[in-house]
């Protein structure tokens, strides 16, 4: 009996891995790295993680979880509350509905797919923030951050893939 419960508990914990890990990645973005540049150019790990799990383990990254992750990010960053939440829900929707294009295909296909969706997501955030604050934010820092995020995708996807194989499959 206890063995069954323990097993169920362990499986429950494993099920929380994708969302928990994404929240940790969000928190990591806001640590004081002692460099203004690092904070500004820090990759948007949440985009990578939400995309990855929506494609490769969609049952563990439901829309509500994407919303929650975005919400936590907005609360901490001081961004307009709801903007990142909205963006991540839309990203999760797009990734989930296009997952057949990525699953079982060469890695490059997934990378390009991510690059496209991440670009759309960051344009959305830029537009949303510009509208919210009634100003035009400089697009260059956003573009650089996007480029960095796309550049680190292979590494992060590799790590997430390893975790998935190790604990979830």
């Amino acid at each position: 009996m206890i063995g069954v419960l323990a097993n169920r508990f362990r499986n429950g914990l494993k099920g929380l891995l994708p969302v928990g890990l994404t929240v940790l990645l969000v928190l990591a973005a806001y640590l004081p790295y002692g460099s203004a540049e690092v904070s500004r150019l820090f990759p948007q790990f949440a985009l990578i993680s939400v995309f990855f799990w929506s494609v490769y383990q969609p049952n563990l990254m439901p829309a509500g979880a994407a919303f929650l992750i975005g919400f936590v990010s907005d609360v901490l960053s001081g961004m307009p509350l709801g903007l990142t939440a909205l963006t991540l829900v839309l990203l999760q929707y797009a990734a989930l509905h296009q997952r057949r294009a990525f699953v079982g295909r060469p890695f490059l296909v997934g990378w390009f797919g991510f690059a496209f969706l991440a670009a759309v997501a960051m344009v959305l955030v830029w537009l949303g923030a510009s509208l919210y604050y009634m100003t035009v934010f400089a697009p260059a820092p956003v573009a650089v951050q996007l480029a960095i995020t796309v550049a680190v995708y292979p590494l992060i996807a590799e790590i997430l893939g390893w975790l998935q194989r190790r604990y979830l499959l």
Partner: protein, 276 residues
């Protein structure tokens, strides 16, 4: 199954409308939204404090290495500084005494002594859109909204929201930051406005104002939020009405913030103070 698809679709609609409602509420400066944000940040503050420890140690290590590397050069420069500053010290001592004597003759009421709170920076949310910090002091430490925040070198911003154990600090460079300032020599008044770059703009100067690179900018104390005379930075760029100020603060070495509890001198304050 069509019903399942319908449920899914309505879940998406629900989440998207929730996000939009939050955006509209936040835009209208809803009190509940900002209080909620403060509460969640406060809840996560201990997590940040723990997570930021290894980062802090790593930073200290790289800085120790840097300092060691530059010891020889820095030593020579510091010797020169000591020479130069010791003559200034003599002048300052003389002025201090003279000032005290003159104040006594005028019977001038002393400015209220500010009260300092030192807080560690536990989160840096500086991004492309927002420039804020979270510091590890809150209402339990006596932090109040509006308090000026300084680093060793000068003003860095002000407190915008206060939780129990943490507070959010809006940096000078944030889009929403406006600080009433004066140009130190000429006493010209203006406003230092952040625009998400490292060098805020100086705006609302009188049309005839002459400002040139190298001029020092300090707080004016207008509006009663900041005490007057806090150093901010120097003018570095003047071009066709666009004036940019380089703050004294080293954004890359911002580990602690000193929060200044300042109360505007009120009429009648002097009487009660004398009575005590």
């Amino acid at each position: 199954m069509p019903t399942r698809a319908a449920v899914q679709r309505s879940a998406y609609l629900l989440l998207i409308s929730a996000a939009l409602v939050l955006l509209v509420l936040g835009r209208s400066d809803n009190e509940a939204v900002s209080r909620f944000r403060t509460a969640v940040t406060d809840l996560l503050a201990p997590v940040f404090a723990v997570m930021s420890e290894p980062v802090r140690h790593a930073n200290e290590l790289t800085r120790a290495g840097e300092d060691l590397w530059y010891t020889y050069r820095d030593n020579a420069r510091l010797r020169q500084d000591i020479e130069r500053l010791s003559s200034w010290q003599l002048i300052a001592r003389k002025l201090e005494q003279e000032n005290a004597v003159l104040r006594a003759q005028l019977n001038l009421r002393p400015e209220p002594q500010p009260f300092y709170i030192t807080a560690r920076v536990i989160a840096d949310t500086g991004g492309a859109f927002v420039r804020t910090l979270v510091v590890s002091a809150g209402s339990r430490d006596g932090v109040l909204p509006g308090q000026a925040a300084l680093s060793g070198a000068g003003l860095i911003g002000r407190i915008t929201s206060v939780g129990y154990r943490s507070s959010r600090l809006l940096l000078l460079s944030d889009l929403n930051s406006r600080v009433p300032v004066v140009v130190e020599g000429s006493r010209i008044r203006g406003v230092l406005a952040g625009d998400n770059t490292d060098r805020p703009r100086l705006i609302y100067l009188p049309a005839t104002a002459q400002v040139s690179p190298g001029d020092r900018i300090v707080t004016s104390g207008h509006g009663g939020v900041f005490p007057p005379g806090l150093p901010i930075g120097t003018v570095v760029h003047v071009n066709k009405g666009e004036i940019r100020v380089q703050p004294f603060v080293d954004w890359d070495r911002l580990e602690y913030a000193t929060l200044l509890r300042y109360e505007l001198p009120r009429l009648g304050d002097g009487l009660s103070r004398d009575g005590r």
